[in-house]
């Protein structure tokens, strides 16, 4: 049981590390938020659950903490992305399409 927990925690740490690498390598704010959301969700989830598997008496607590992170992580990234978009941050070069100006028209309806 202990070693299973070590493996799960290790997977989580690996994903957190990859998320950090993505944060450095992606070109603009929006892509970086993507890296910061996707990898940290599973990363934090697996790390916390792994600790719960290592210490079975903590399992339910860690499960609740992990579910809390799962529910709140998208909200933080959404607010970061929305702040960037509202303050007019440009997309990186090589972006395919930007419908933000069309979207603004709907707000007047």
């Amino acid at each position: 049981m202990y070693y299973l927990g070590v493996v799960v925690t290790g997977v989580g740490v690996l994903f957190l590390c990859l998320g950090g690498i993505g944060l450095f390598r992606f070109p603009d704010v929006y892509n970086r938020v993507q890296a910061g959301t996707k990898c940290t969700t599973l990363g934090a989830f697996a790390t916390i659950i792994g600790v719960g598997i290592m210490e079975p008496t903590w399992f339910w607590k860690t499960l609740i903490i992990a579910l809390f992170i799962l529910a709140t992580n998208p909200i933080s990234s959404h607010s970061l992305g929305r702040a960037a978009y509202k303050s007019g941050t440009e997309l990186a070069e090589g972006s395919v399409v930007d419908m933000a100006s069309e979207f603004e028209e709907y707000s007047e309806e």
């Binding site: 929006y30 993507q34 959301t37 339910w60 607590k61 992305g81 419908m99 933000a100």
Partner: protein, 165 residues
């Protein structure tokens, strides 16, 4: 939803979370948990009514469970996808901002949809106005509204439509 019902929903949710955190059935812990849940429910049950969660039902519960499994599968796919893009030497991204539509009514349903989209491969929600969502897509596959709606939103919406019907 009636006030009494929403009071009991909130009370049971709070008490279950308390049980999860303390993970014991000692009398002292239970008494403290019951008291705190009762007081918090007394204060907040009005807010809970205003949010407008749908009433419980067996069909809803089953579909909610299926939905959680679907979302979890998508989360794992999303992580592998973004991690792959992060470590690939050429950084194979094709980013853009697209609009999708939703048929869902109600703020809770739209919030759940937006959060699920944020957790799935390569997409996250920037803004919501009415029935349209502004989505940043790391690998744009289609620029048209209908196609994008089908590719991004449809896999969740068909469950959410039943859960929040």
């Amino acid at each position: 939803m009636s006030k009494v019902k929403s009071f009991f929903y909130l009370f049971s949710v709070l008490f279950l979370v308390w049980l999860g955190f303390t993970a014991t059935f000692q009398l002292q812990e239970l008494a403290l948990g019951l008291t705190l849940s009762f007081l918090l429910s007394l204060i907040f049950y009005k807010t809970y009514v205003n949010i407008g969660f749908p009433p419980l039902g067996i069909k809803r519960f089953v579909f909610a469970l299926i939905y959680i499994i679907v979302v979890f599968k998508e989360i794992i796919k999303a992580n592998l996808d973004v991690a792959y893009r992060a470590v690939h030497p050429k950084i194979p991204i094709n980013p853009g901002i697209v609009i999708i539509r939703t048929n869902l009514n109600g703020d809770v349903a739209k919030t759940v949809l937006a959060n699920s989209i944020t957790l799935t491969p390569g997409t996250f929600t920037l803004d919501v106005i009415g029935d349209r969502l502004l989505i940043h897509w790391i690998n744009v596959e289609s620029k048209s509204e209908e196609e994008a709606t089908k590719l991004i939103g449809e896999r969740f919406e068909r469950y959410l439509r039943i859960i929040f019907a």
